[in-house]
Amino acid sequence: MDKLKTLLVKKPLELDCGKIIKDFPIAYETYGKLNEKKDNAILVFHALTGDQFVTGINPITKKDGWWSFAVGPGKAIDTNKFFIICANVIGGCMGSYGPSYKDSNTNKVLGINFPIITINDMVNAQYNLLEFFKIEKLFSVVGGSMGGMQVLQFASNFPDRVKTVIPIACTSSHSAQNIAFNELGRQAITADNNWNNGDYYTKNINPNKGLAVARMAAHITYLSKKGLQEKFGRKLQERDNLKFGFDADFQIESYLRYQGSVFVDRFDANSYLYITRAMDYFDLTKQFDGNLSKAFLNTKAKFFVISFTSDWLYPTQENKEIVIALNSIGADVGFVEINSDKGHDSFLLDVPDFLNALKNFLEKSNN
């Protein structure tokens, strides 16, 4: 992990759970150049299983960064114009302070001794990067899914530190359905004997089966029925006939198994537990006494909310609630729902209408 840029945060941070953390690492990556006025920085927040390697080749996984379609030279978030910062969230497993972090005092991996964290904690931790880069005001905060939740929380916590705010395919309050899916994933992990109450790092036997099942279940929620049907239908996997067994007869089964198996190579099961918990606890409306508008009372930022037609995990209606809350206080907010069959995953994929809207919004706000 020596390829990771890391900021050691010395300042104590009080977490929502009441614990105070200090001297903790935030792993981050940057793309493009920070200009002299330091007014071209965009803080990108990653989703549940993302990391700081937004674009280019991820040095750890050797695969394309998770937002390669959107971020890069000449792309929607243009690295020729903007300075992009992305940090691994606390609770994550790509170098930031998380359950797989080894405490140098005890020389032990934290495991489930890691404190329960929230979206608010993640955002407050990443705020240290602004001070590190001496950025007074970000040009934008942008992110999809859990990244979008962080965007909303950031805009609420630091209204004076950002010019434009782009929450994508997200919600201001995690729904029962989303909590249910996350719980399914957590149960799959903790039901795996190898999980061993979170203490598996020393034995080097990971709860891979549980984590793979969690990923498979979650992956289904990122796609749409129509998208799945068009891509896989009932096509068989490298066979002409059904085998009358429980092998992966269908391509969709094989695809999901593959998604599960590659995921466990790059993700820590305990991180999955902690981060999904943070998402479930996210309820910005409740943080402000049931009135979401209050979360943004002091904002002068320009908001642009984006949702996708086939996203049933963070449906348009939930994104619209953010728009409604902003409108009711006269905030500057634009909104578009993008046509796409690709489900919640649309924000990560090559969806031209989405990428154009993002590019146009950023460029026209850059005057």
């Binding site: 320009k302 642009f304 728009v323 409604i324 409108n327 009711s328 006269g330 500057d332 907010v333 634009g334 909104f335 578009v336 729902e337 993008i338 046509n339 209408d353 154009n356 809207a357 146009n360 919004f361 026209k364 706000s365 005057n367």
Partner: protein, 198 residues
């Protein structure tokens, strides 16, 4: 920019807050923003047109006026503009009420079905009128509730809102409408532009 928008713009004071309902490509918004330093928001139902507005850097919300005006608080705009779309709503009465709830004032324009060419078309040809301002056939028109200038004036009395200025437009010529000339304006104008308030 079309003459209709010039007239609308001329009736909006500098530095006000405006909502353009059914803002289309955002031509009016762009003009008001640039020329009059007006804080304008748009509401538009077509995704393509919303995208065009975004590419111009305009603040637009995708939505349907009959549902999505609800989200704006009372009197949150100085003017709400509704250009040639009242007739396309399922419930125009409700929309007018919403416009006047959200805005202190509203500017509503209507294609005048009382225009002589339209009357003549129906009288002579006996088919549903198709004109420059109303280019669709009866089977594909989005217009559900066509009305005339006179109808709109009657409508204002019926549902109790005040028309404080009405302008008739024919080609590029404009003139004020009053009680005395209502008959002729209704006959010779293609478009009616009404400034209304509660």
């Amino acid at each position: 920019m079309k003459q209709e928008f010039n007239i609308i713009a001329n009736n909006i004071e500098k530095g006000t807050r405006v909502l353009d309902v059914g803002c289309g490509d955002g031509v009016l918004i762009e003009y008001l923003k640039k020329e009059k330093n007006i804080d304008v928001r748009g509401l538009e139902i077509s995704k393509d047109k919303v995208q065009k507005c975004i590419s111009k850097g305009l603040t637009v919300i995708e939505g349907n006026a009959e549902i999505d005006l609800k989200q704006f608080p009372n009197n949150s705009f100085d003017y709400v503009v509704l250009s040639q779309t009242l007739q396309a709503f399922i419930n125009p009465e409700l929309v007018i009420k919403e416009l006047l709830r959200v805005g202190k004032r509203a500017i509503v324009t209507i294609p005048n079905f009382g225009f002589w060419k339209i009357r003549l078309h129906l009288l002579i040809k006996g088919t549903m009128p198709v004109t420059k301002t109303l280019p669709d056939e009866w089977y594909n028109t989005p217009n559900l509730h066509m009305c005339t200038i006179k109808d709109f004036v009657k409508f204002s009395n019926k549902i109790n809102f005040k028309i404080f200025k009405s302008i008739a437009m024919n080609e590029k010529k404009t003139s004020l409408i009053n009680n005395k000339n209502l008959f002729t304006k209704n006959l010779f104008s293609e478009l009616g532009i009404f400034l209304i308030e509660k």
